[in-house]
């Protein structure tokens, strides 16, 4: 007789933390995600470990930072010896199933030790891929007849198609359809902000036409409009999965965990895509819905994608691996003041608290400090003037102290190793 809960992990790709109607966004309608957010624990300061797919996913799968897993960019395997969720949960009596995007070395694969892979990313557009994912997960759940509990990882691809949009619509005249003006989302308040940015970030902006000044404001708004349509596409799929849980009665014993691997810049700081330290790129949506809970609660303390693994272990009442960077955040009373983020192959690092975000680089003396309480849109680098040096030093020390115990994977090239 199974007394342990089933766990359904739903992960989208590149979803801005606020691209959910339950979060008050007037430009998007997400009835599926609203079902989770209205009756779940919502983490409003959840951060990716690195705003790039592969590294972030290595953290979700292992509870470790990318510098530990060795996945410092896309295209790498998790370092040998670090168990991932599939291996760990299968070893502890769960049926571990994965559908959709993997992106640890290969973008998708049908063979992953520890996981029963029931559908991979299909090599055509994301919404076809995502639809296949849903129908395979739906079939699996409707046919489920096992005393063992399951861990189902539903790894969607949308709204990642915004990458294709940004790359394809390089010029104004490519926009061959028109959305009525009053339907277009407003530009964010920090659209014009350039808060004393490091060279690394300026280089990134110069490489993508949208950020390099080639897009008019009208085009930025149309990009936003399209982004929200991609979000709604994946929300339709999520809604279907939640219907399946309700239809089958599995909802009574299934914990639903929703997250994204990283965010999307959504025109903030006149930037699209991800790969920046700004909140739109680094923060992720995260919510957990447990059976029988009828109201929502909000956790504002900073949490990390490394926390997913140990939190799932606590739900399943199983031990965590002996080496674990993340912590169990299921109860909301955890004692942690800040989280760490890597970026740019690990040569950039950040430390984030509820109040401050401190950003430093290996190869650039220009660091950034933002007061997230007073300046949530990160428009003013407090280190531009002469003040805040002490706070920056304190946060720098905390960042170093947080990274120090972590064992850097040997496979990471020297040029990408942090030197302090």
């Amino acid at each position: 007789m199974n007394t342990k809960p089933n766990i359904l992990v739903i992960c989208t790709d590149q979803q801005h933390h606020g691209a959910i109607s339950a979060m008050g966004n007037p430009y998007v309608k997400t009835p599926g995600l609203d079902r989770i957010y209205s009756k779940g624990t919502v983490y409003t300061n959840a951060y990716s470990t690195n705003p790039v797919c592969g590294p972030a996913r290595s953290s979700i799968m292992t509870g470790r930072m990318p510098c530990e897993t060795g996945v410092y960019n896309n295209g790498f395997n998790i370092r040998h010896g670090i168990p991932h969720l599939g291996q760990w949960f299968t070893g502890h009596g769960y049926n571990s199933v994965l559908a959709g995007k993997w992106h640890l070395r290969a973008n998708s694969t049908s063979v992953i030790d520890g996981f029963d892979v029931i559908m991979t990313k299909v090599n055509i557009q994301a919404n076809v891929s995502d639809t296949c994912l849903t129908s395979s997960v739906e079939a699996y759940l409707r046919n489920y007849d096992d005393e063992k509990p399951f861990l189902m990882m539903a790894m969607y691809i949308q709204p990642h198609d915004i990458c294709g949009f940004v790359n394809y619509f390089r010029d104004e005249e490519d926009m061959l359809y028109d959305v009525p003006e009053d339907e277009l989302p407003e530009l964010p308040p920090n659209f014009h902000a350039e808060p004393d940015e490091p060279e690394r970030f300026k280089k990134f902006k110069s490489r993508i036409p949208s950020s390099a000044g080639n897009w008019s404001e009208a085009k930025w708004r149309r990009y936003l409009w399209n982004y929200y349509r991609y979000v709604e596409g994946v929300d339709c799929e999520i809604n279907r999965l939640l219907d399946v849980l309700d239809d089958t009665g599995l909802a009574d014993n299934t914990i639903v965990v929703f997250m994204s691997d990283h965010g999307e810049n959504t025109a903030n700081h006149r930037t699209a895509l991800k790969t920046t330290f700004y909140n739109e790129s680094c923060r992720v949506p995260l919510a957990i819905k447990k059976p029988g809970i009828v109201s929502s609660e909000t956790i504002t303390a900073p949490v990390s994608l490394t926390d997913i693994f140990p939190t799932l272990c606590s739900f399943a009442d199983i031990e965590t691996p002996s080496e674990m960077t993340g912590i169990n955040i299921s109860e909301g009373n955890f004692d942690r003041k800040g989280v760490i983020i890597e970026n740019y192959n690990g040569s950039g690092r950040a430390y984030v608290t509820e109040k401050y975000k401190y950003i430093a680089f290996n190869d650039d003396d220009k660091h950034q400090l933002f007061d997230l309480e007073k300046d949530p849109f990160e428009t003013e680098n407090l280190l531009s003037g002469n003040g805040f040096k002490e706070i920056a030093e304190e946060l720098h020390e905390k960042m170093i102290a947080a990274f120090d115990p972590l064992e850097t994977a040997e496979c990471i090239p020297k040029e990408y190793r942090w030197t302090d």
């Binding site: 998708s108 557009q125 061959l176 339907e183």
Partner: protein
């Protein structure tokens, strides 16, 4: 080219009736060869459309994606839509969907009932029974009565069911391209993400298509242009469907040749 203002997110959901022209525009660029407002004015007909996917030079076998067959027989007053869709991904996991939708032969092709099956085979080409799913249903008084694994569910009928299950790769804009009719392939037809009616302003001769498209929960009018090279110059989702004319000689070979020599039409 200002688009028509449709409901914005948060407004009432839009529903549309199934009509021939939102199922498919097919066979050739000439307007008269497209479906007119009604199905063919014949007692019996059988229209078969085959679909091929195009992505990254087809090297990952996502081809032969199935067909749509529309059947009306004199002996029956109804119209059947039979759909088969096969998706083979590059790890040989294969999903095959077959579905039949029975509709009234009235002006709006009212859906009556449907049968649907999905099968997934693993990379050893073995069908996985635990991933097989059959469902059937009928539409009555604004509700769908659906049966899955012997259990009955009653749901609000919100959209043409054909969108709900399978024809999610067909259609949008078409262009004759050699022996092919070339289709942009944009939208998943599923609840909340539906293709809307082609407007009466379609001006194929001017190399423009204008359609009403519901994208997510937003509704917009989209205009598709055809380049001087004969290709749609816009692609949102980076893939396409080719529908071959039944009588096109060596059509498959020609398609492959075009793809091989012409390269990737749409890079991701």
């Amino acid at each position: 080219m200002r688009g028509h203002a449709g409901p914005r997110p948060g407004d009432e959901p839009i529903t549309t009736r199934l009509t021939p022209k939102i199922i498919l525009m097919a066979k050739g660029i000439e307007k008269e060869n497209f479906f007119s407002d009604e199905f063919p004015d014949k007692d019996s007909y059988r229209l078969i459309y085959r679909m091929w996917g195009n992505h990254q030079r087809m090297e990952f076998q996502n081809k032969n994606m199935g067909y749509l067959e529309i059947v009306k027989e004199t002996s029956k007053s109804k119209i059947e839509f039979k759909v088969r869709k096969v998706i083979v991904n590059f790890h040989n996991l294969t999903q095959t969907i077959t579905a039949t939708l029975l509709c009234e032969n009235d002006d709006i092709i009212t859906p009556l009932s449907y049968d649907y099956s999905s099968r997934i085979t693993d990379n050893a080409l073995c069908t996985r029974p635990d991933l097989s799913l059959d469902r059937s249903g009928c539409i009555e008084d604004g509700y769908v009565i659906e049966k899955i694994k012997g259990k009955e569910y009653k749901r609000q009928y919100e959209s043409p069911l054909v969108f709900d299950f399978t024809v999610y790769d067909l259609v949008v804009s078409g262009k004759e391209y050699g022996p092919f009719t070339y289709y942009e392939n944009l939208y998943s037809f599923k609840p909340g993400n539906r293709l809307m009616n082609l407007t009466s302003e379609s001006t194929l001769g001017n190399h423009k298509f204008k359609m009403m498209v519901q994208y997510g929960t937003g509704l917009t009018e989209r205009i598709f242009h055809i380049s001087s090279a004969g290709l749609p110059v816009m692609m949102v989702q980076n893939s396409a469907v080719y529908i071959l004319d039944e009588d096109a000689p060596n059509a498959i070979g020609k398609l492959q040749e075009e793809l091989n020599t012409g390269g990737v039409h749409y890079e991701y």
